[in-house]
Structure formats: structure tokens, C-alpha cells
Amino acid sequence: MKSVDEHWQALVTTALLGTDRREPPEAPQLIADLVADTARTSASERMLAQVAATTAVRRAGVVPGPPLDELAIPDGDDRRPCVPAAVDRWHHITVSWPVLEDEWMLTLVTAGWRIAPELLPAMLVRYRSDPVRRTRVMVGAGSTGRWLVGHLPDLAARHPNATVTPEALAELPELPIAPELAQLVNWPGAESGGVLAQSLEDGTLGHPHRAMLINLVARVRADALLDIAEILDAVDSISAGYGLATVLGDLATTRHRMLDELSTSSAG
């Protein structure tokens, strides 16, 4: 007696040729019982009824394929994966504040975190052509990163033989900041924030300086960020610099939260 699967293969063969050239196969009892109540005169009608019934039976009887061998698992890594808030933050900064990407990664590695595994594919794809950032990802990913790339060649580096110096790996890239602003990098937040707010309100600083100001906030000392965000948030809403102050305040807040989420104390 034919099984349902054997009958299905016979139906596929007939369907390829068409019932003008080949009669439908004889159905096994299970299928014949399902289509017996139909009065169908033509071969194509009988064939369609069999195809419908056999498809319904095969789908409802969905069964697993054979068990498969386990994959070898990667070596262990004692570091804890970064917290979900840091995962969300990385997605946020890649869209809104890419100037913070290097600091996110360096802080993570320095604080002893491991990159959360769900971030790895996106990071490996994003930095495929950037040897420095990609190497940092592989450091932060540990054995899981190498294991993953071994299984998914699409994640391999575009320039696997590129040389990366330890200095380039360990340092934040230098960002261009005008000399008159550069001194603010090391000032306490209350002072640097005050200068920025005043300059934005009176128009001394404005949109032509936007890129430089973003670089400044991305490099001011970490303990100044909250004060800067608070002061920029209080800039007069009718002043011309209000919009830019809001943008810079958001950057300061984002960077503060990013560093907090990746701090050593969060790593426990």
C-alpha cells in the first residue's frame, strides 16, 4: 500500500506533465476516503481534489525531521555580558550619536564587560571594513566572536590582514576641536556648561560651530556631563541658540548614561 508521501510524489510527477498527458494516480485509501464524496468527471478535477486532500493531510501530520548532531560550543568567557540598557544604548548611538561609538566599545572593554551576544552580528557587519573597530569587537566578544565568524563567513572581516597597532586599539580617536574651545574639555561642568550656554544664547556660538561643539561634548571630562546637560537644558527657549543647546544637552545626557551603564560598578 502506498504511503501518503509516496502518493504525493506521484501527484507531483503527474502535475509536472499535466493531466492532459497523464491520468491522476490512484489514491491510497486514506485520501480516497476524503475525496470519495465528490462527483468529478474530468481528470483535472479529480487530480485537484486529491492534491487538496493530500496537502491537508500532510500539513496536519507535520512531523520533525531526524535528530541532528550538536555543534561544538565556544570556549568559556568569565566576563559578564553588558546589561540590556547598554545594548539599547549602542543601537541608539549608532543612529543618533555615532561620535560615541568608539568610547562605548573602549569603556566596555576597560570595565571588564563582554559584548552582549545579541549585539555581535550587528557589530561585526557594521565594522567589517574598519580594522580598528573590528578588532575591538573581537576583543570584547572573546571566544564567541571567533566561533560565530567560523560558522557564518558572511561576518568575516573585509581586510583580515590589516595591521592594527596597540595604540590605535586602546585610544579614542582625536576629534577636531577649535583651540578656543579645547580648553573647556578639562573644566568642571558648571563652568564649561555656563560658557557654552552663554555663547549659544548671545550667538557667539551657533550652527556653523555645530560639528566642533559635538566633538567637544563627546570629549569633555565624564564628571562634567550632568552639569552641562542641566545648564544647556535651561537655555532660554526664545534665544537663537536654543535648538543647538537642546541637541548638545541630549548628547551630554546620552554620554553620561552610556558611561554609567558601562561603569565598573555596574559590572559588579
Binding site: 502535475a15 483535472s44 487538496a52 500532510r58 507535520v62 512531523v63 541532528l68 540590556p84 564567541t144
Partner: protein, 310 residues
């Protein structure tokens, strides 16, 4: 609608008579003309199936199997639709919805609610023609029943972002007529809580659950199930596996880089994890990984350049 179903059956009959090897099958007009006529006949859901079916032609070495099975289900639906008056009530409703009968949202929301703590178990975005379709799969904590919430977005429109995968929502669900999975969220009684996971099955148990849903409506082409499984490879193709068997992952190995599969591999590191997947006749689509402290949403995501909130 009856005229459209009669025409569909005549068209199916021609395909079976001429054979699937006929070159006309590869011409888009063969499918598009029929889809347009089905839209005119108020059978929009069948028109969508026809368009999806056109995409299967030549798509894989076994495309004849896939196309023939879908032709069979279209025949089943057209026959059921033409005899809808003689079907039992719930089945008639299910057929009507699957054929394209439109139901007003207000009528659905006026129905009896199914109140539960609904776990948002998975999400998937699929482009269908010029519309992005987002599916959220919800599972009732008490009832164990699944529900499907759909949202749609044309170019630059927004998809529903109110349901977050891995949260539980105490709310009313209103189901479309029949034994439908498709539902609308009604009143919400509390803010979503997290993290929560639906109960998981072995792969064999998962197949049983899917089979039980397909007995009721064999034409369903996406069904949710939560299983505990690991990734494995079979002949270069990725699959989910456990001690009871395996299920192939949809399209893995043939389509472009699959971020969801890569995330599953990275998070699981080859070990068994709890997963919600979408079963399809061609393989499963991993949607979410349920970890003890969080759920990772790995379902296919709409292109952010097409929809404004993906």
C-alpha cells in the same frame, strides 16, 4: 465573490491540465491577471495568496512541490467558499475570512472579549507587495491560546510599536469571526510587565501543536509555537534540533545574510534555548529567544527606509 471563486477554480483546473512544466507559469501575467480579477471579485486574501505563490515559481529546487501544495489549498478554499452556506458556522467564518471577506474593526471590538495576561511572544515583519505587514504573536497565560495582532504600513507609514516582545499585557483580546487567531487588542488594564516567557515544548510536541491548528484550518501558512531547541546543521542547511527531531530554518543558506539566525547562533552558542518560532510549510522562522532575564527579539524586521517606525 462567487464568480471570482468559480474563475479561480477554472484557472486552477487549467494549470493542472496543462502541467507545472508549462512556460506560462514563469510569466508574471499568468498570476497577476488572476490576482487582479480576484481583487475585483472582493477576494483580496486569495489575490494575496496568488501573488505570494507566483514568487515560489523557480525559487528553490523543490518549487514544484511547494506550488502544487498551494494550488491544492487554493482549490480547497475556492470549493469551501462556493459552498459556504452548507458549512458549520465557525468553519464558514474561517473560510470567509481566508477568502477575503472584510470585517469591520468595530464589529470585532464589539464581540465578547478574551481577557488574559497576554505574553507578547514574537514579532515578524514581512513585505507583501507594497505593504509591510507586522505580526505580533500573543499567548494567553491562563488559556494557553494564541492570538495574532496585525498591523500594516505602506511606504513611510508607521507600524504598531505598542506591543513589546517579552512583555505581558493584561488586556482584552477580540477575535475575528470563526476559530480565528487574528485578533484586536481592546482594553488594556495595566502597563506591560517583563520579562515573561511562554511555556516551551520539545520539537515533537511543537509539531503536534502546529498540526492540531492545521487540522482546523489547513490553509494557514504561518503559525506560532514555542520550543526548546538548539541550532544544528543538516547538509549545509541550518535547522533547529533537539532529542526528538529537527525542523529546517526557512531559507537559511540560500538567502542573503540572516541577522536573526546570526543573533540566535550568538546568543545560544549552540546550546538549547527557549524560542518562539513561526512555522511555515517551507521551514521555521525564529522570532524570539526567551532567556531567564530577558527576551531577545530576532524576528525579521522591516526596512527602516520603507516604514518610518520599524
Amino acid at each position: 465573490m462567487h464568480a471570482g471563486l468559480t474563475e479561480l477554480d477554472r484557472w486552477l483546473d487549467d494549470r493542472i491540465r496543462i502541467g507545472l512544466a508549462d512556460p506560462s507559469l514563469a510569466r508574471y501575467a499568468t498570476w497577476d491577471d488572476l490576482a487582479a480579477r480576484l481583487v475585483d471579485a472582493q477576494a483580496g486574501s486569495l489575490a494575496n495568496r496568488i501573488r505570494r505563490l507566483a514568487g515560489l515559481v523557480g525559487a528553490s529546487p523543490g518549487w514544484h512541490d511547494d506550488v502544487l501544495a498551494e494550488l491544492g489549498l487554493l482549490h480547497l478554499l475556492s470549493q469551501a467558499g462556493r459552498h459556504i452556506g452548507s458549512l458549520p458556522g465557525p468553519l464558514a467564518d474561517a473560510v470567509a475570512t481566508s477568502v477575503g471577506w472584510q470585517v469591520k474593526q468595530a464589529d470585532v471590538l464589539a464581540g465578547v472579549p478574551d481577557t488574559d495576561h497576554w505574553i507578547v511572544a514574537g514579532r515578524s515583519d514581512v513585505r507583501e507587495d507594497r505593504i509591510e505587514v507586522r505580526r505580533h504573536w500573543l499567548r494567553g497565560s491562563s488559556s494557553g491560546r494564541w492570538a495574532l495582532c496585525l498591523s500594516f504600513a505602506a511606504y513611510q507609514q508607521s507600524l504598531d510599536t505598542s506591543l513589546r516582545v517579552g512583555t505581558s499585557l493584561h488586556a482584552d483580546i477580540h477575535r475575528y469571526p470563526g476559530p480565528a487567531l487574528r485578533s484586536l487588542v481592546g482594553s488594556r488594564y495595566a502597563l506591560p510587565v517583563e520579562p515573561v516567557s511562554p511555556p516551551s515544548h520539545t520539537i515533537a510536541e511543537g509539531c503536534d501543536e502546529v498540526g492540531a491548528m492545521l487540522v482546523t484550518e489547513p490553509w494557514l501558512d504561518r503559525l506560532p509555537v514555542t520550543i526548546r531547541a538548539r541550532l544544528a546543521k543538516s547538509g549545509g542547511v541550518w535547522a533547529l534540533a533537539d532529542a526528538t527531531g529537527s525542523l529546517p530554518v526557512l531559507d537559511a543558506g540560500t538567502r542573503q545574510f540572516d541577522v536573526g539566525l546570526a543573533m540566535l547562533l550568538a546568543v545560544s552558542e549552540g546550546r538549547e534555548v527557549d524560542l518562539t518560532v513561526e512555522w511555515t510549510p517551507l521551514g521555521v522562522v525564529p522570532l524570539s529567544i526567551h532567556l531567564p532575564d530577558r527576551t531577545v527579539d530576532i524576528g525579521p524586521r522591516a526596512n527602516a527606509s520603507f516604514v518610518s517606525a520599524a
